[in-house]
Amino acid sequence: MSASGTNLSAIVVFVAFVSLSLFITWWAAKRTHSAGEFYTAGGKITGFQNGLALAGDFMSAATFLGLTGLVFIGGADAMLYTVAITVSWAFILFAFADRMRNLGRYTFADVVAFRLHPERMRVLAAIGTLTVAIPYLIAQMVGAGSLIETLFNIPYLGAVLIVGTLMTVYVVFGGMLATTWVQVTKAALLLAGGTALLFMVFSQFDFSIDALFERAGEVHPRGKGIFLPGVLYNDPISVVSLGLAFICGTAGLPHVLMRFFTVPDAIQARRSIGYAVVIIGYFQVAIMIVGFGAIGLLIGQADYVDNVGRIAGGANMVSIHLSRLVGGDVFFGLIAAVAFATILAVVAGILLSASAAVAHDFYSRVIRKGEISDASEVTVSRWATVCIGAIAIALSLLFKSVNVAVLSTIALAIAASVNFPAIFLALFWSGLTTRGALAGGATGLVVVIVLVVLSPTVWVNVLGNATAIFPYAYPTLFSVAAAFAVTILVSLTDKSARATIDRAAFPAQLVRSEVGERL
């Protein structure tokens, strides 16, 4: 295949992006001194900038490259993801934006620790953050390593080292300000690149959506069967689980929740998530159309798809192949560089949330009980970033052949089953107690890990057993339900002295969460 090999435009665009990102980091470093500046850019990001950054956080390489591949393979079923993702962001806006921004300062732990036992809840939140962030980080870096290996002919080791070092540099020196602006830059690039790809694909069909869909139905090996739902997911439990994974999972992602605190107030928080919904909704629709366009254009091209329908380089390469086919080598290089930039920006955000969990929630608040100067907290955060960055690089090199899809599923399922129930019930249910939240969090974590191990993705594909004990790819319906049930049952039966304090503090929290700093 000729798609590998060095490509001048890819290198030019990529070097330009890295230079710009390092300039941003240098600029941000001069403005990052206090803990507030390090974790949340001093709360000075505007609603529109933060909306782009939020959308950028979510539009990872997995959505850009993975979803087009999923349309190519699964046809209409890929739309389940597209719809669930957009609905999940709207839900975050309605349910979380106001109350989270009004109660928190740096991390979502501030919110769950507001009226519950502060140290215990911060430990739970730190575990919930790290068990989401580390698998997510490794999934992105391993995916990036393999992608860059194919695209730029850089060996895997070098690719992981480049990604790992750059993300660490952004966060250590530039904190949230650099992370946000790198993310904003990348989101703008990705939107421009995706729109250009959509335009060029459309032009191949003389801008007729009918021609595009007609052609896809003619050339796909399954014919018009690609428009039939129920191919990837053929039972209601899977459809519900997939929806819950995105709706509750996205609302439990620590690096997404952290962005609520980078804006000055609840008005800007609402506005920023409103922008994010619009941008993400648009991008999801664009990706779906590009995916069906790819079916029509790539099938039959021996360079990209063989005669049994296998895509050269794997399903993640669909957008990349397509960009080369419709836009030539220059455009292909551009899209490849944008995909690389996407990964860089996303991992930086995740790394920052992990280091905030270690340095702010665990070290400063639990170990030192808040008895720490602002300057030393920033120093601890920077060292935590370096350590987590190094660990992520080492693990990515060690687990080169790890199944990226499994890691992403675990991360999203833990976010949905550990972080989401704790935050949701802390915000909306006066009966929640510390003991209930801890029991529910532990249940969610254990159920996710057990069910993922017993699921087809690990039990059959990794461990080589004939049939899976747990037949569904996503465990979320069961793990989220278990976490909620245990949290509520334990809270209701909790007669401890702490439980009385937890419940009595709800009215004050309610007022604060609805009106914020206006008091």
Partner: protein
């Protein structure tokens, strides 16, 4: 500040009720739409694959697009409505003091 005093104020209760109505109304509509559409596809697959009259665009995908469009519209309405509600309730309250 004295939070328990604010808790008894009618403005605060109106804010709470008005925001809750939007919050759970929009969330319920969208999540319900995803579930009905997603599970419906399993039982009416043929209907979902049928193109819309006079085009090649499958009906199931068109419904999915509609839910995405609704998410965007509801989000815009929510942001505007809550800004207005907060201004109304707090505006009144600030005048009282």
């Amino acid at each position: 500040m004295d939070e328990s005093a604010l808790l008894k104020e009618p403005e605060f209760h109106r804010l709470l009720v008005r925001r809750s109505r939007l919050r759970w109304g929009f969330s319920g509509l969208l999540i319900g739409a995803y579930l009905v559409w997603g599970i419906g596809g399993l039982y009416y697959a043929e209907a979902y694959a049928t193109p819309l009259a006079g085009s090649a665009f499958p009906a199931g995908l068109a419904m999915g697009l509609l839910i995405i469009a609704l998410s965007i519209v509801f989000s815009i309405i929510y942001v505007r409505a809550v800004n207005r509600i907060e201004a109304e309730e707090f505006g009144e309250q600030e005048k009282h003091r």
